[in-house]
Each structure stands twice: as C-alpha cells, then as structure tokens.
C-alpha cells in the first residue's frame, strides 16, 4: 500500500533536507514497504487504525466514530425504503398479474435499474426541493433531511426487490400448498400474504447481501450530492487524496461489515426458510 507514489504528506513548502529526513522517520516512510505494511497491520489489529495523513487533526478511529452512525442510518433507511417499496410493488404486481398496474410497476422498476443514481438524485432534488418544496436541499441532522437521500439511494434496490418479489410470488402462488389454501376458502389476499409471501421472501433475503454491498458503495454518490458526512464520501476522498491510513482503515471496516451482513443474511435465510423446522 505504501508503494503508492506521491506519498501521504502534503508539504506545501520545500522542506530542507534535515527536516525531510526527520519527517520521513516520523511517518516511517523511510522503512522498506514490507516493514511498513506489517507495522500498520499489527497496529490495526489492536484496534488503533492510525492517524489520517491528510486530515491532520483526525485519527482514523475518530473518522469512523463520526461517520459510521451517519452512513449506517442512511443505509438502514435506504434498505427500509427499498424493502417496503419493493415488496409492495412486487406483491401488487404478482396479484394483479398482466394488468396495467403490473406492467407499469415493472417498467418503472426496470427504469429504476437503468438510470444512474446521481441522475435520479439530481432530478429528485429539482422536484422535491424546489418545484414542490417539501424536503431540505442537503445536510444532516434531522429526520427530514434523511428522507430524500434514502429514497434516492434505495430506489435501484427497490426496483430489483420488486422484480424478485414478483417472480417469487408468482412461483409460490402456483405451488400445491397454496392451491390447497385457496381450496380451503381463504381470500386471495390472505393466501398471498400468509402462504405465498414467506416462500417468496427467501430470494429477497438472499438478495439483501449484495443489496447492502451496493448501498454501501452507492452511498458515495448520494453523500456527496446531499452533503452528508458519511463514510462513503470519506473513503472516496481518502482514495483520491492517497490518504493511505484512512483508506485502508475504511476498507477493513467495510470488509468486516459486509462479512457480518452476509453472515446475518445467511442466518436469516436459515430461520425464515419454511422448509426448515424451527425447534
């Protein structure tokens, strides 16, 4: 990692040779790269992720402490929107299959996947901040400021979830046990919700893994446009500025998060699978 040219220190003044030697020693850039790498790793494993080299007054841990709750809430909210919108659209589409509602919802869903998120965000700002002024333009601090960014972030995933739900529902609705339920005289709605939905949920749950990954990375765009001080934006800036300690710390954090999320998803999959007997 420290083989990156350009170095981490942004010295605006030409340092005299003695100072430069001093400085290299202080930041340990005078060691061969493999020694530096092990040093960082061993320090990282103790929980101290080091000092950011570009943000002079912050340590990596501080950056994470400030940014993680923000990104996490943005992500959770976006996921929430994605699931709620996606599920509803998918269920409605499946129930009213072949109708105009079905066609338009599915087309909308495909459109949601085909447009870059920053375009959606830009248009959404125009529409919901200036044309119909209901949401604040940017910033972080109130729940209202969270709505528009989460919507923009979650839209693409809502679209994907809608498609998956629809397929899953249609699949479940043609199964034998559902036909049995119908024969028992239950209304179509009850049949859908109580019997078809749990099975249909499974592929949605398994999609959540990649969805979370996508939301983590997609948050970069949204955070920049809405001026939200989250980890995604910190990461991009770290990479663009070659702030190696911060970049490495965040990659480590993301990897841990993703791994955990995938683990939880697998766990949920196991719990929710109706074919599995819960003791």
């Amino acid at each position: 990692m420290l083989a990156v040219p350009g170095g981490p220190y942004s010295a605006e003044r030409n340092l005299p040779p003695e100072l430069e030697a001093n400085f290299k020693h202080r930041y340990r850039t005078d060691l061969p790269w493999y020694e530096q790498y092990t040093f960082d790793l061993s320090r990282d494993l103790t929980g101290d992720l080091g000092m950011s080299s570009r943000l002079q007054d912050f340590s990596v841990n501080q950056v994470i402490k400030e940014g993680l709750p923000i990104s996490a809430s943005l992500g959770i909210f976006a996921l929430f929107f994605a699931i709620v919108l996606g599920l509803s659209a998918g269920i409605v589409s499946a129930l009213y299959r072949g109708s105009i509602a079905d066609f338009s919802l599915m087309s909308l869903a495909t459109v949601g996947i085909a447009i870059p998120s920053f375009v959606v965000a830009g248009l959404a700002i125009m529409l919901f901040v200036f044309v119909i002024p209901i949401f604040p333009a940017a910033g972080w601090g109130t729940l209202r400021q969270l709505v528009l960014p989460s919507l923009c972030l979650g839209l693409a995933y809502a679209a994907e979830i809608a498609r998956i739900t629809r397929t899953g529902m249609l699949d479940a609705l043609s199964q034998d046990y559902v036909r049995t339920a119908r024969a028992k005289g239950l209304s179509e709605f009850m049949v859908a919700i109580r019997h078809a939905l749990p099975t249909a949920l499974l592929p949605v749950v398994s999609y959540l893994g990649p969805a979370v990954a996508g939301i983590l990375t997609g948050s970069v765009v949204i955070e920049k446009i809405f001026a939200i001080p989250g980890l995604g934006w910190h990461f991009v800036q770290a990479a663009l500025q070659r702030d190696l300690t911060l970049a490495m710390g965040l990659v480590l954090l993301y990897t841990v998060l993703l791994y955990t999320m995938n683990f939880i998803v697998d766990l949920s999959y196991g719990i929710l699978d109706p074919r599995v007997e819960l003791k």
């Binding site: 220190y9 005299p16 003695e18 950056v63 333009a137 929710l272």
Partner: protein, 634 residues
C-alpha cells in the same frame, strides 16, 4: 411461523431505532448564522493552516497582536492595544492590553507570543508559514539549521522521554557551535540515489560549559558513533532571534529590514498566539479537539464534525465580547458548489462563498440585492515547470501564453465578470503600475513556436494540465486545452487531483502545467513578487534568476517608497518577459450574502471577520435598503 414473524419484527424495529438514535443523538440546535465554507478544513492550528477556508475559522478562534478590520482589512488593535515603531522602522514595541484572556480565563501575555512565534519558526512544527517569522532578525536562521556556522550560539534540544506529548520541548542545552562534521557516507549516498536519497545527518561539535560535546540528530533507536550523543534537534539559540519579552505585557520585535506591511502581517493568522499549557498537555493534534482547545479569539469552537460543520460559539472571556453580536455560528463544509448554492436558496445558510459559474451568469442578468461582484486581490494563473523541456525555452512559454484567449475564458468558464489578466499583480494593488505580458496573438504565438523548433506544433510533446478538482477549474483547463490545440496545434491532456495531492504535486514539481491562484497576504506587491525568488516555497516553477533575486532583496531594504515600487515593477517586468507563469484572470467577489447580514464588507482580500458580522432581524428578503456588502466599491 410465529417465531419467524417475531424475528422479522425485531429486526425492523431495531433497525429503525438505530436510525432514530443516530439522527437524534447528534442533533444540534439551529445556529444564528450559517455559511458554506468551500471544503473540509485541513486543520485549525494557526501554524499549520494555509487556505482561505481555514483562515475563516482560525481568524474567529485566535486573535493576534492585531486583527484585520472588516472594512479594509488593515491592522486594527487586537491583543495589543498600542504600539511604537522606531525611527528606522526596524523595532516594534507592542503593549498588550491587560484584559485579554484565554478561553480558560488566564491572561494573554507577551510570553504567549514568544512561545507561539518560536513554535512557528521551529522546524519540527513543519509550519508552512514559518517564513512569516523570517522578517525577524535571525528568524530564517532559526528555522533552517543548515545555515548554522561555526561560532553561532546554539540550543540543543534533547530527545523526549517515551510517552511525553510531541509538542513539549526536550531539555535544552545552550552552547556554542565549534564545527560541523559532515557524515562520511553522505556524499556517496546522495550521488548514488539522486533526490530520493536520505541525507545523512551531520555531527555537531558544540562547546557547552567549557567542554566539547558531539551531537547528532537521532532517535533513541538509531545507531550513533560512540562518542556522539543523540539529540532531537540543533538550532540557533532562540535568544539570537529578534524577539524579546520585556515584561508580561510588553513585547519587542526587531526586524532585519524595515517592512512597510509588517503590521498587516501581524494581523494575519500564522502569527496568532497559542496556549502553551494546552498545546503541551495534549500534544498535537489532540490539543485542537473542541473539548481541549484553548483560544483567545472572539469565538470558541464547540463542535467539529468531519465534512459536516464547525460550530463556533461566542466567547465569554474575549475582551471585546460586548461588540460581538453573533452567538452561534456554523461553518458548513460543502464540497459541491451546486449543493452549497441549493443550501443558500433554501435559506439554510445566509452566506454562500463560491456559487457555481452558470448560476452567477444567470443571476447577474438582473440586479440583485445579495450579489456584488467587485475586484479582488487574487490572481488565477498557470505555473509552467521550467525544468521540463520544452518549457525551458522562453519562446515556448511566451507562445503558450499568447495562444490563450483570456476573454473567451472569462466569458465562458467564469460567471461573475472576472477580469482577464496579463500581469501577476492585480490592478487593484494601490500605488503600483501594472506590468503586462504579451497579449493574445495566435499568429505571433505560432511564429515563436516555430522559431523554438516546433513549426505548426510538429514534434511538440503531449503536455498535461494539472488542476485541483473543481467544476470551474475543469472548465477553464478544458478551454485552454482546446485553445492550444486550435491556435498552436499541440495536444494537451487534463489531470485533476484533490487539494492535498495537488499541493504535493505542485511542491515537488511533478507537473508540466498547473493551475494556481494567489491571494495577496497583505496589501503590497511584494506578496506576489517574492514568491518567485530562487528556491522560494511558493515558486513552484523552477524559475531561478539571480537578477530577479537581487531586485527583490533590494526592494526589501529600500526605504524610499517610490524607488521601492519601481524595483518591484522592474521585477515583475522581468517575470512577465521570462513567463514562468501565465496569468489568466483576476478574481471578482462572488459571495452571495442575504440582506439581513450586516457588517459584511466587500474587501479586496475577501476577508470577512465573523466577529464583526451581525444579523438584523428587521430586514426582509426584498428590503430596498442595501446592506454593507452591496455598497459600491471604489
């Protein structure tokens, strides 16, 4: 089924609760005054900052001997209430006011200034503005240990014990330098590895209390020869520097040369005081955290959130707190110009520092009560790396300059009516006659390029234009690329880097052509001219001309005002002829400020001390009375 539903519900509720906690847990009450501060600031340490966004905050937190007055940014009393200047202009005596206090209640004394200025000069602080202290006698020699020679009184700072904060000074030994011994391996190493070589440290032989001792700058883990002691650094004895604490409230500064703008320099933030106890207790950078920092300015910093905001609250220990009207101020760090403008339009901020060009162009079609473009003391120019062929040929540089249509640039890529520039020093510099480079002339440019060996651009290598990431800089670079292609037939590519990397690249001359802008630090042409002395820290072009250096140093010692200006004008004429830089345009004020913001003046240096700003609640958006910002600028 039941278990599964419960599981789902628990997950959902936990998720939403987490969101609510994250959002409401960190809520802040609204501020009296908010503004967009261009970007996330690098630091609030006065010795380490360099940019304008940092300046706006630091200026509110720390107060130097003087402060910049809101109307014309000239020196006004700050921590010092009166001062005397000697006949020859070299000795300044400041009398500090007795009621100036730090935010922890302690009085601000002359010792604080002594500590802070020494810290600024200390090479271990790595201050980028150390040279502001070089006006003092021996200031430069203190910072650059390489200038130490036999016979100089020196101070030797010993290494710190483990666990001691890095801002504390080690034990000091005072003595006299007998000689320096170059390390034997030095010459070989530097020859072999080139500029990446690590310079070996010298051995300093110092006489202390009659005995000769040998020292080398080394850490405890480094190997040193047997009779050599390790130390942290070897510097000139600070008592040799032209700064003297006469008593608690009297400070004497002695300059090498009479410097007419020295007072304005003192109002600038690098020479502001920092609290020694605080700095030494917490170390750097922890002392800068809101819960630790001790400041003496009109505001205190109560919160600093990365890429969100810095929250300032009126200080109740500041000597002039009666006249500070704002209570809570938020400086938002918004990178994206359009987002910043959106915040302004939705009234979430009252001052937008840099609106986007398209917006400005549209808005200026009709008169506004919140936008008043007026000339500023800032020049936008391109650096040419004269160490890289073919830019080492003067004709090539001049050709590049003459092929740029500055009118087109200011018409297309900027929005507030910026002024095309053919000189480095802006026309708004008082008492100075402008010295211009050759105007836009594509035919003459082609002829020059042909003379230099590149007829019609044949054989001219591909060059790269570097700029720091920003919409406006990208547009300008793109235009210039096209102009060079059309007018000279050469190919250019663009490269953008973030502010930090960009500064790095410029500093290390890792570019061919790079964009730059310079705000005058004080109202004197020297702030532009002395950048380009050989090896100057802000030269960044490889331009090295002994005649130029002589002109600058002569101007520094010249007492007659007219002669001095003539020397500076002559130096700029030389600069415009050699063309290591290509001036492009002069900035114009593009701040957007709501009518109810008062005490905000359109200043040449774009400095608007928050201390002097206040909100007039009685003013509405369409109030016909203009505020101070809208007053016509002469």
């Amino acid at each position: 089924m039941f278990g599964r539903t419960v599981f789902l519900i628990v997950m959902v509720v936990t998720g939403l609760a987490a969101v609510a906690w994250a959002v409401y847990g960190s809520r802040l009450a609204p501020a009296d005054f908010s503004f967009t501060n261009e970007t996330e600031i690098a630091t609030v340490d006065p010795a380490l900052a360099t940019g304008q966004p940092e300046m706006r905050i630091i200026q509110s937190l720390f107060e130097g001997l003087g402060r910049q007055s809101p109307k014309d940014t000239h020196f006004a009393p700050g921590a010092a209430e009166k001062w005397e200047i000697s006949e020859d202009g070299r000795v300044y005596t400041f009398h500090l006011r007795h009621d100036a206090r730090w935010s922890n209640g302690e009085p601000v004394t002359a010792r604080d200034f002594s500590y802070s200025i020494r810290r600024l000069l200390d090479p271990l602080t790595y201050s980028r503005y150390a040279y502001e202290g070089w006006y003092l006698v021996n200031g430069k020699k203190y910072t650059l240990a390489s200038e130490l020679a036999a016979g100089d009184p020196v101070e030797i700072e010993m290494n710190l014990a483990a666990g001691v904060p890095n801002t504390v000074r080690g034990e000091l030994l005072l003595g006299k330098l007998v000689r320096r011994e170059a390390s034997a391996a030095k010459s070989n190493a530097t020859a072999a590895k080139g500029d990446d070589a690590e310079p070996k440290q010298d051995i300093f032989v110092v006489e202390i209390d009659g005995k000769e001792r040998r020292f080398k700058v080394a850490e405890a883990t480094d190997r040193v020869p047997k009779d050599v002691e390790r130390c942290r650094q070897v510097l000139l004895d600070f008592r040799e520097v032209g700064l003297k604490v006469i008593d608690d409230y009297t400070l004497e500064l002695r300059l090498t040369n009479p410097t007419p703008y020295f007072l304005d320099l003192l109002a600038y933030y690098p020479l502001a005081p920092v609290n020694q106890a605080c700095v030494e207790k917490y170390g750097s950078p922890d002392w800068l955290r809101p819960e630790h920092i001790v400041t003496n300015g009109p505001f205190r910093m109560v919160a600093r959130r990365l890429r969100d905001r810095v929250r300032l609250v009126r200080s109740d220990t500041y000597w002039d707190r009666e006249n500070v009207k704002l209570n809570v101020v938020d400086a938002l760090s918004v990178d994206d110009r359009t987002t910043a403008f959106n915040l302004y339009m939705t009234r979430m901020v009252d001052w937008d520092t840099v609106p986007p060009a398209e917006v400005l162009r549209e808005l200026l079609k009709e008169p506004r009560n919140d936008l008043n473009p007026a000339p500023q003391l800032t020049t936008y120019y391109f650096l040419l790396n004269t160490t890289r062929p073919p830019l080492d040929d003067k004709r090539v540089r001049q050709a590049l300059s003459m092929a740029i249509d500055r009118e087109e640039v200011t018409r297309v890529a900027t929005g507030a009516g910026e002024i095309p520039a053919y000189s480095l020093v802006p026309p708004s510099m008082p008492g100075y006659h402008k010295q211009e480079c050759k105007p836009f002339d594509p035919a003459a440019a082609r002829k020059l390029l042909a003379e230099a060996g590149f007829p019609e651009g044949q054989g001219f290598p591909r060059i790269e234009i570097l700029y720091n990431t920003d919409q406006a800089h990208q547009a300008i670079a793109e235009l210039i690329r096209k102009q060079w292609q059309n007018n000279l037939g050469i190919t250019a590519t663009l490269r953008n880097e973030e502010w930090g990397s960009y500064q790095d690249s410029i500093q290390q001359l890792k570019f061919t052509v790079a964009r730059r802008a310079w705000v005058g630090d004080y109202m004197d042409p020297n702030t532009y001219a002395d950048m380009f002395v050989t090896g100057g820290e802000n030269n960044n072009t490889g331009f090295a001309n002994p005649e130029y250096d002589k002109l600058i140093s002569d101007a520094a010692t010249e007492v007659d005002k007219t002669k001095r200006m003539e020397l500076l004008e002559k130096s700029e004429r030389m600069l415009m002829d050699e063309q290591p830089i290509i001036p492009v345009y002069f900035y114009v004020s593009r701040n957007m400020v709501r009518p109810w913001v008062r005490g905000f003046y359109n200043t040449l240096q774009d400095v608007h001390p928050i201390r002097d700003i206040w909100i007039d609640r009685s003013v509405k958006q369409d109030d016909p009375r203009p505020n101070e910002y809208m007053e016509p600028v002469k």
